[in-house]
C-alpha cells in the first residue's frame, strides 16, 4: 500500500515528552523516589526485625480470625514452606513492594473513584485512561519509569501502581453507582448534603464492592513482581527472573510457588474482610 500520509512521529513525540519531563520535573521525581524507597525499605526492615516464626504465627492468627481455620492452616503451612525453601528474605521484599503499591493504589484510587462517581465528566475522562493503563503492556511504561526513577524498587512500585490501580477505581465507581436509586432518593428527601450522602450511605453500601476492587489490585500488583524485577526490584520476582535467564527449572518453580502462597494468603484475607462488611444485613 502506498504511503499517502507520512508516518506520524508518535515515537518522537513520546521521546520528546519523556525527555522534557525528565529534565523539568527532576525534583518531583527525586522526591517520589526518596519517599517510595524509604517506605519499601522501612517495611522490609520492619518485617525483617520480626523473627520468621513470630511473623508466621501472627499472620496465621490474622488469617484464622478474619476468614477461617482452613485459611489459617494454609497460611501456617505455606509460610513455613517459604521459610524452609530459603525465600523468606525475598518474600518480605515482595510483600513490602506489593503492600506499598496497593497502599498507593488505594490512596489515589478511592478518591479518584469517588470523584468519578459523582461527576459524569470526570468519569468520561477517567475510564478511557484506565483502559489505557490496563491494556498498554507493562514493559512499555517500565522504560520511562527507569528514566524518571532510576533502577531499583521504585520503578517497580510505580509500574505496579499503574497496573494495579484501575480495579480499585473502577469498582469504587461501580460500588457507589450501584446503590439503589430509591435509597439515594430517600437520603435526598431527608435533606442530606452531598458529603452526608456519600459518607453515611453510598460509601458504606459500596464497601463490599470497593473491597473486591482492592483485592483485585493486590492480585494485579503481585502479578507485576516478576516484571518489576526486570528494572531491578528485589524480591521473589528477581529469583524467578534469575531462574528463567539461567534456565534453572527447579529454582524457578520454588520461587514461583512462594509467590503463589503469598497470593493465596493475601487474596483470602482481603476477600474475607469484604465479606465481613456484608454482615449485619447489607445488600
Amino acid at each position: 500500500m502506498e504511503q499517502w500520509l507520512p508516518k506520524l512521529p508518535i515515537a518522537l513525540w513520546v521521546d520528546d515528552f519523556v525527555n522534557w519531563l525528565t529534565t523539568n520535573l527532576e525534583v518531583a521525581f527525586d522526591g517520589v523516589t526518596t519517599v517510595l524507597e524509604s517506605i519499601v525499605e522501612g517495611l522490609v526492615a520492619g518485617f525483617g526485625f520480626i523473627p520468621s516464626y513470630v511473623f508466621i504465627i501472627l499472620l496465621t492468627l490474622i488469617a484464622w480470625k478474619v476468614s477461617n481455620k482452613g485459611i489459617g492452616l494454609f497460611t501456617l503451612i505455606g509460610l513455613f514452606l517459604v521459610d524452609n525453601l530459603g525465600y523468606w528474605e525475598p518474600m518480605l521484599e515482595t510483600l513490602a513492594l506489593v503492600l506499598t503499591a496497593v497502599f498507593i493504589s488505594i490512596l489515589l484510587g478511592i478518591p479518584m473513584g469517588i470523584w468519578a462517581s459523582q461527576k459524569q465528566m470526570v468519569k468520561n475522562i477517567v475510564v478511557p485512561v484506565l483502559d489505557f493503563m490496563q491494556t498498554m503492556p507493562a514493559f512499555v511504561y517500565l522504560i520511562p519509569a527507569i528514566f524518571f526513577f532510576n533502577i531499583g524498587v521504585v520503578p517497580g512500585v510505580v509500574a505496579s501502581v499503574i497496573f494495579a490501580m484501575p480495579p480499585t477505581i473502577r469498582l469504587t465507581i461501580l460500588g457507589i453507582q450501584q446503590v439503589p436509586a430509591d435509597i439515594i432518593e430517600a437520603t435526598e428527601a431527608f435533606g442530606s448534603t452531598t458529603s452526608q450522602r456519600l459518607l453515611k450511605v453510598q460509601l458504606p453500601l459500596a464497601m463490599p464492592t470497593i473491597m473486591a476492587g482492592i483485592n483485585q489490585s493486590i492480585m494485579l500488583a503481585l502479578s507485576m513482581v516478576v516484571i518489576a524485577s526486570m528494572v531491578g526490584a528485589p524480591g521473589l520476582g528477581a529469583d524467578v527472573y534469575r531462574a528463567v535467564t539461567q534456565i534453572q527449572i527447579g529454582k524457578g518453580f520454588e520461587a514461583g510457588l512462594s509467590i503463589v502462597v503469598i497470593a493465596i494468603i493475601l487474596d483470602r484475607i482481603t476477600q474475607s474482610i469484604g465479606k465481613n462488611k456484608k454482615q449485619g444485613g447489607t445488600v
Partner: protein
C-alpha cells in the same frame, strides 16, 4: 372547605422529560401527550397540574401506572424539578429556592415514605429512623429519643437494634413511616407507601395511618393506584390520567359524579358498600313521643301504613320501639307506652359503612335505628333503600346536610365535607 389554611399549593406545574421548550409550546397549543412524544421525542410527565392541600388533610393522588402521579408528588419536594409552574409550601415557592433553602425545607417541613421502603440496609432500625435528624446535626441523645418515640407510635418498640432485612415488609414500611414521623414535619408525602404490601397488611397499615392521623393532623399527600385505598383514606382525591388531573373531589363526589367517561369507567367497579355509610341511606324516622298514649302511636302507624314505630323523648333521644300489635294490646289492657316499650333495639351510628351493617339489617325484625353518639335518633334503615343505594340509585342516597337538619342533629366535622350534588330524597 376552606376552614383550614392552605399548606401545599401546586400551580400549573408541568414536567417534561427531554426537549422541553418545543414540548411546552405544543402543550399550550393543546396537543396530547402522545402527539408531543411523536413530534419531539419528549415525554410529558405531568401537564399543568394545579391543586391545593389544606393543613390536616389527606389528599390522595390516584392514577394508573404512567399517569404521572409519582412524578407529581416528587415535584412537591423537588426530587424532580418542575419544568414550569409553582409549588408553594406554606406560601413559599420551593421551585425558586436555592439548594440550601430547599435542604432546609426537606429537613424541617416535608418527610417522605417510599414504595420500596428505601431503608438503609447497613443501619439498624433505630439508626434508620434517626437518619433525618442526624443530617440536621441533632445531638445523639435527642435524636435517639425522638426516633424511639416515632418507633413507639408505629408499634415497633423492641426492634430498634435489628436490621431492615430481618423485618417483614409490613414492619419495614412501619420503619419508613417512623423515619418520616421522627422529623416531626407537617407534611408527609407517601408514594405508593402501601402498594408493596400484601392486602391484609395493607389494610392494617391504612387503619393505622388513619389512627395516627386522627391525633397528629399531618398534611398528607398519598399516592396510590388502588381506588379502594384512595376511597378509604382520602379526604379528597385527585384522579390523574396521562399526566393530567382529570377530577378532584371527595370520594363521594368522584363516585357519584364522575366528571368524564374515564373516571366513570374507573369507578364503576367500586364496591359501594365500602364507601356509603348508614348516614347516606337512612330514611326519616317516624317517631312518637313517650308522653303520648298507645292510641296516638297506633294512629300514626295506621296513617303511615307501618307496623312499628320508635319512641323518643322530647330531645329525640331514642328510648325504644313498639309494634302495632303491642299498641293494640296496650289499649285493651289500658297500659301506657312506658309499660310496653321494647328497649332492646338494634342501632348503628351514621358513620357505619354499609358493608358492616348488612347482617344487622337482614336479621332485625323492625328497621334498624341510626343514632348518634348521644343516642339521638337520626333515621332508620329500610331494606329496600339500602339495596337501592347499593345498586347505584342516587335517589336512595341522602344529601347529608338535609338529612341532618331534618334529624335536628349537630354536624360533626367530617360530615360537613360531604356534599351531594344529586340525591333528592324520597319520602318514606
Amino acid at each position: 372547605m376552606t376552614s383550614n389554611p392552605i399548606k401545599i399549593k401546586v400551580q400549573n406545574v408541568t414536567k417534561v422529560f427531554g426537549k422541553s421548550k418545543k414540548a411546552i409550546q405544543l402543550l399550550n397549543e393543546g396537543e396530547t401527550k402522545n402527539a408531543i412524544l411523536k413530534k419531539t421525542g419528549a415525554t410529558v410527565g405531568v401537564s399543568k397540574a394545579s391543586f391545593e392541600v389544606e393543613a390536616g388533610e389527606i389528599f390522595v393522588i390516584m392514577g394508573l401506572s404512567g399517569s404521572g402521579k409519582s412524578t407529581l408528588v416528587r415535584m412537591i419536594n423537588r426530587l424532580i424539578d418542575p419544568t414550569i409552574g409553582e409549588v408553594l409550601i406554606d406560601g413559599e415557592d420551593i421551585v425558586k429556592m436555592n439548594k440550601e433553602q430547599l435542604r432546609e425545607v426537606r429537613r424541617k417541613k416535608i418527610s417522605m415514605v417510599f414504595q420500596k421502603f428505601a431503608l438503609l440496609p447497613h443501619r439498624t432500625i433505630l439508626e434508620n429512623v434517626e437518619y433525618g435528624l442526624e443530617v440536621q446535626g441533632i445531638q445523639k441523645e435527642t435524636r435517639s429519643q425522638q426516633a424511639m418515640n416515632a418507633l413507639k407510635l408505629v408499634g415497633l418498640e423492641g426492634y430498634e437494634h435489628q436490621y431492615p432485612k430481618q423485618l417483614s415488609g409490613g414492619m419495614q414500611q412501619r420503619v419508613g413511616l417512623a423515619r418520616a414521623l421522627a422529623n416531626d414535619s407537617d407534611i408527609l408525602l407517601m408514594d405508593e407507601a402501601f402498594s408493596a404490601l400484601d392486602p391484609l397488611i395493607r389494610k392494617d397499615m391504612q387503619d393505622e395511618l388513619l389512627d395516627l392521623q386522627s391525633t397528629m393532623k399531618k398534611t398528607i399527600v398519598f399516592i396510590t393506584h388502588d381506588l379502594d385505598e384512595a376511597l378509604r383514606i382520602g379526604d379528597r382525591i385527585a384522579l390523574m390520567k396521562d399526566g393530567v388531573i382529570v377530577q378532584i373531589g371527595t370520594p363521594e363526589e368522584i363516585l357519584m359524579n364522575p366528571s368524564n367517561d374515564y373516571v366513570e369507567r374507573f369507578v364503576e367497579d367500586v364496591d359501594l358498600s365500602k364507601v356509603l355509610t348508614a348516614g347516606h341511606v337512612m330514611k326519616r324516622a317516624e317517631t312518637v313521643s313517650i308522653e303520648k298514649g298507645p292510641r296516638v302511636a297506633l294512629q300514626i302507624m295506621k296513617d303511615l301504613g307501618i307496623s312499628s314505630i320508635y319512641v323518643v323523648d322530647k330531645k329525640k333521644t331514642l328510648l325504644g320501639a313498639i309494634t302495632a300489635s303491642e299498641a293494640n294490646q296496650a289499649i285493651e289492657s289500658r297500659q301506657g307506652l312506658t309499660d310496653i316499650i321494647k328497649e332492646e333495639v338494634t342501632t348503628v351510628s351514621p358513620e357505619t359503612l354499609l358493608t358492616d351493617l348488612f347482617e344487622k339489617v337482614s336479621t332485625a325484625t323492625i328497621p334498624v335505628a341510626v343514632v348518634d353518639e348521644t343516642n339521638k335518633l337520626k333515621g332508620i334503615l329500610v331494606r329496600g333503600a339500602v339495596i337501592g343505594a347499593l345498586a347505584g340509585n342516587n335517589q336512595d342516597i341522602n344529601q347529608i346536610h338535609t338529612a341532618q337538619s331534618e334529624a335536628a342533629a349537630g354536624q360533626s366535622a367530617k360530615e360537613v365535607k360531604i356534599t351531594w350534588n344529586n340525591g333528592s330524597r324520597n319520602s318514606q
